[in-house]
């Protein structure tokens, strides 16, 4: 299918077409393919289209029915529709009983259950949340036991620790992410996450180190230079920040207001006799 040629900007057109003819299976299939291909997070669309497509379009899906079920599972988790997620999991487990990928999805459902939800009895809720949290970690440990280089499980652990929302949680996430980066040092997204974690801990110096790795790994991405420039500015290194802002503007001169602002701020800060900002 020509679905491999879809680009993220096609989504606007496709969504409009979907609204006009909501039962057109080919449009539905294209939308889901695009979302999967470019990892776009639109749980609302997936939950509108997915179940319908599964019911009416089983034939045209062929082997991609497995991907669609996984897609629905994850979208359901995003919307906290745990029943729907569980349903898809059951089907996937029946068809792929030994799959580590499916086990990872099972763990994700436990992760979603680990969010304490307001019920009348907060003690039970907290206990259930705690149990689910532990169960999720257990499953990821099982996956890593079978496959010590399973990037998915390692990254989910980082996410779980980060979503605790505490300083120690985020510190643990940094440690877990470091373990991952030892195995996958060229994963630019992981370095970006590392920078985010350090920034959350307000350790801008360490974030800068991570952002330098990001720039090394994605040197023609204007956003990488931009972020590094912001970290340098925060650290007070206005002259180096200015260089990275300039580089960012060279890479993207048209839709880069942020770098333009940054350049002005740096230039002002570097003027003799003037303070910052």
């Amino acid at each position: 299918m020509a679905d491999q040629n879809l680009v993220p900007s096609d989504l606007v057109e496709l969504e409009a077409a979907f609204r006009k003819s909501p039962t057109d299976l080919s449009i539905q299939q294209k939308i889901l393919s695009l979302l999967r291909l470019h990892r776009i997070r639109r749980p609302d669309l997936v939950m509108k289209i997915g179940p319908y497509l599964l019911k009416k379009g089983r034939g045209r899906l062929g082997n991609s029915v497995y991907d669609v079920r996984e897609q629905i599972l994850i979208a359901a988790l995003d919307l906290h529709r745990l029943g729907d997620a569980q349903q898809e999991l059951k089907w996937l487990q029946e068809n792929f009983p030994k799959s580590l990928r499916v086990k990872g999805l099972e763990a994700m459902i436990h992760e979603a259950r680990a969010v304490p939800h307001h019920t009348s009895n907060t003690d039970t809720a907290a206990q259930n949340a705690e149990n689910s949290y532990r169960k999720a970690l257990e499953l990821y440990a099982e996956i890593l036991n079978e496959d010590p280089c399973n990037g998915f499980a390692m990254k989910r652990k980082v996410c779980m620790l980060r979503s605790k929302g505490t300083q120690e949680g985020t510190n643990e996430a940094v440690r877990a992410l470091n373990e991952y980066l030892v195995l996958f040092p060229t994963d630019v997204e992981a370095w970006r996450e590392m920078a985010d974690l350090y920034l959350e801990l307000q350790q801008v110096e360490l974030a800068r180190f991570a952002l330098e790795e990001v720039v090394m790994l994605s040197p023609i991405n204007y956003a990488s230079h931009l972020k590094l420039a912001e970290a340098l500015y925060t650290l007070g290194d206005f002259s180096t920040a200015r260089r990275y802002y300039s580089q960012s503007l060279e890479l993207n001169p048209d839709h880069n207001a942020r770098a333009a602002y940054g350049l002005v701020l740096c230039a002002t800060a570097l003027q003799p006799g003037r303070g910052g900002g």
Partner: protein
Amino acid sequence: AEVKISQEAYLKPLLHALKYPASAVNGVLLGKCTKKDSASIQVEEAIPLLHAHLSLSPMMDAAFCVLDEYCQRKGLSIVGYYHANPTIDQPAPSPIAKRLADRIYDTVRESDKNGEVCMLIVDNSELEQLAQALNASRSLDE
């Protein structure tokens, strides 16, 4: 001190938080501060600022430059800071929130020795309950 807030200034931080459910968001509150017997803050506007990397300073600096001019034009002053945490079970202001709120306090005190500021923290848990209550009455497939 007593704080009064306009409807729009109340809603904007909530909408900002809802737009970026996975991030912390923040912004400033503008209005007027009067001191008769005790301080009274009237919040008239909420200006959304950041939804990523709240601890990086350049965009905050730029925002304050633009805000200065906006406040002068509208006859308002900075009277507070709002913040929404990224996770549902964090009712307290994060260290970053406290730092930025302190910074705003210092800035306000520089120009007005008696100035007061307030901090508004979005209660994510309450917001979630509200969203659930609304959702219960309509399904997603509409």
